[in-house]
Symmetry: D2
Subunit: 284 residues, 4 copies
């Protein structure tokens, strides 16, 4: 049996839901999940739909072609269709912090994540032994003021060679270049260690401590050119008090960061995220 | 323009979503919201759908009739159709605690709730002055060991006279009789002051204190014959510590109770709750 | 029996805790609560202490005098001593939103709050009927561009006449003047409808909607000259999603605002808040 | 410099705080942290105090002796004094689930935990490769109906040989025997995968699913003879909905379990937990 996930957005129009369900019905598909959202401010329609096809001669490619001609063009849709048979390939970028790395690799090893990790890139060598234990290739690509472009080209080569689908910055402590962002639009997931939009940029726990907040947070988002300003995928929070030092905030924050980043990875690989207007629609 | 909300559940079957959307399309309805859920354990299909009809001669009654004949019978559906023009009528039952009463009446007065409150029933007179201030009729129906049936009959008379749609027990400190429950199945909302199924029955904060829990909760649920065992609509929690006395738990709990009860009332009146197998499906 | 609460802060010094406890012991006081905090960054010592005195001739004034001479001067302390016999007097400032007003008055009426409300000030007449129902004097003091100083003088007169201890801005929609802030330093509590420091200023729910955050918040803080930048007393948060309109955020936010404001009022009147460096120490 | 942590509980008595602080002052100790709690129901006094001693000839043993003679006996205290120089030794018991193991070892490796892990015991061999990667000795001690006593004796031998201070059951799927519990009273920490006291015993996520709860939880507690009924150290919760299958609850629960267990380990090793009446006092 074939199972596909369809993600659509377009201007909201009459009869659009009936047209889509009809189309699938005629292709002998059985809809097993449908969810939709209309942004009333912008008048945009969003839909996520899972459908099963039991006919032995079903071809995802042929379905896509028909979908485009008979449906997408008519409603002027932006759309993606994913076969559930294909595991997305994730590249992990890390620096020196290990908590998100341990957490993601632990989940990966336990079979919790629907993805492959062909390799890990780091600008430092510190975490090599961890990735060795998990038997994942580790590429040390140092980044300095002088070698930025060279380093980036090495990264791009690896990403292309392994046909990477999306990138996860697991506390990678370097600014990602425009070139990379343009090649992977809404496909680079970052974890920022604050409750965005509060405390953009470096040392957010220091700023949170200084401001005396009573709750700290972490935010996973897609990387865009503006720093820490991309579409938010998930956020988490934890209570703190005057008794917590900056080090305590950092330690508490680690627990938030790993959970919030893992949530984003799962939502992304389960094809539950759509992006528009620098915001996300997260389907259930 | 007419707007209706359709709630359906039945055995999961092929083509059911397409059949429903088609039917509405043929009736010249425009689907503005669709959400569905399949319980894979029980193989049950649930759907909530909102549709607008711009034709001037649209009749909800005629639509219901056609829906039953052409769709519901075929798929053996259980279904409800609500017109968005009709505000549900809520009867409030209270005793001596005033926090849920203040909260609901405050929201009601501000226009936050889509409902009418024709009257309030209480087995005590303590809260009469509050309801007077809000200009809502107050019926004092004392309940004793000896007059239970009589009291209940008075309640039933009022409920019928005012054509009440659902009942909210806002910390009403009496057991509701089988007769009332049978007349209003999944239409009596209670707020229990614990995180069910922990601490069923009387004095849950005392039990929570004794057990030394670090989090307390409140639960809104539909009343069934078994005490505090009905389908859960919403739950809320709050952190507590050894520094909290029983009185502190009770005070903290009041804030949970009023929020969790108000959420349940809003979900119910927005037709977002379906009940089956003593559980709820809560649509977004 | 007399009970007092002592709040102290000063440079951290050796033997300070022993000196304080000794002093109270010699005055025949029994310490029933002690909590302390040291800010290691700034090397500041904070303490909150409750003590009971059973001697019939105990005088809070005499104790204060001795405390200053024998203890406070020696350690160069800033300190406050409150007798538990005295209820603080709170002035409520409101405009048009009623949810915080209903919530505070409901709690006040139920005896949950240790305070008196001599009067309510509003720049609009909308909420007069509510305060009438609770039998609290209502002063309508309109504020326009032209009458700001005059309005403020009326407010100050009332505050002095009734010997107000602290002010609560329950969604009061006017900027408080420097003069008032200087007269009531760390004694004016505001509720801001965002998770500060995100979304300072007007229309924070609109900004939160636009940014696409997944969690919204509310913040109670003391008013200082810089807008929404004063010491934070409490914060609360709630999950939201793409399905929530701005109106939904506002409705969800109301529930946060009233709880977070009430918490701040309780912490303040229970003498559990100390302010320094634009931050708060909140004792348990 | 020497630093010690003192934990005391006894009947509440007049002048107890002053007596303790005085005693330390006379020993030339500087109190750097003091917190206390009085259980008004039971009239029990609890205190946690950290003190520094700069005298070069300070001896923890001599201090303990003097403390017992001059203070503890007088007030009939139960007390413990820990030197901050000594890292507690933790034995980890696991079975087949790896998420808590990964999480604890990741934290251990990063230096987040103040403890030593001399060895890991498991009744299965599944997780050996993980502990190998972290270079921690792994003892496979199978437990069957027939060899229970023998297995337990092997465990006890190891615990004694390595002078273990406390045991952590990181999803260890065996009932701990009375003998072990008696040897390590309030020193065996378990993580139960429900919001206790709801869903005691096996398969709590299945029960939570069946009951249709809207929030799930995890509870860390000390092991006592009664199953899942020991003193609660920490609890965590997460929202769930009808869309979550049992497998989803289990996956969401894993994140709760690891955080809540790690919190308990940190509180225990930081000497912040006191137990009485089957409840805990958790100092800040």
């Amino acid at each position: 049996m074939n199972k596909i996930t369809i993600l659509i957005h377009c201007k909201d129009q009459r009869n659009i839901i009936a047209s889509i369900t009809n189309f699938i019905s005629k292709k002998e598909g059985n809809i097993v999940y449908i969810d939709q959202h209309v942004d009333r401010e912008q008048n945009i329609f969003f839909m996520r739909l899972e459908s099963e096809f039991i006919t032995s001669d079903f071809s995802t490619e042929a379905f896509k072609e028909a979908f485009e001609i008979h449906l997408a063009n008519k409603f002027n849709m932006k759309w993606r269709i994913h076969s559930s048979a294909v595991k997305p390939k994730m590249a992990l970028f890390v620096s020196k912090y290990d908590h998100c790395l341990y957490d993601l690799l632990g989940r990966y090893n336990s079979g919790e994540l629907f993805l492959e990790i062909p390799f890990i890139i780091s600008n430092h060598n510190d975490l090599k032994s961890i990735t060795d234990n998990f038997n994942i290739p580790f590429y040390h690509i140092p980044v300095t003021k002088d070698n930025k472009e060279e380093a980036e080209n090495k990264q791009l080569e690896l990403l292309e060679e392994y046909q990477i689908d999306f990138i996860v910055l697991a506390r990678y402590m370097q600014i990602i270049s425009e070139k990379l962002i343009e090649k992977y639009p809404n496909k680079i997931i970052n974890i920022h260690h604050s409750f965005l939009p509060a405390f953009v940029g470096a040392k957010p726990y220091h700023s949170a401590y200084k401001r005396g907040v009573k709750i700290i947070g972490a935010t996973s988002h897609y990387v865009t050119e503006e720093l820490d300003a991309g579409p938010i995928i998930d956020q988490g929070v934890a209570r703190v008090s005057h008794t917590h030092s900056i080090e305590d905030l950092i330690a508490k924050g680690r627990d938030l960061e790993k959970i919030v980043l893992a949530n984003a990875v799962k939502l992304h690989t389960n094809r539950k995220v759509m992006v528009y207007n620098n915001k996300t629609v997260i389907f259930s």
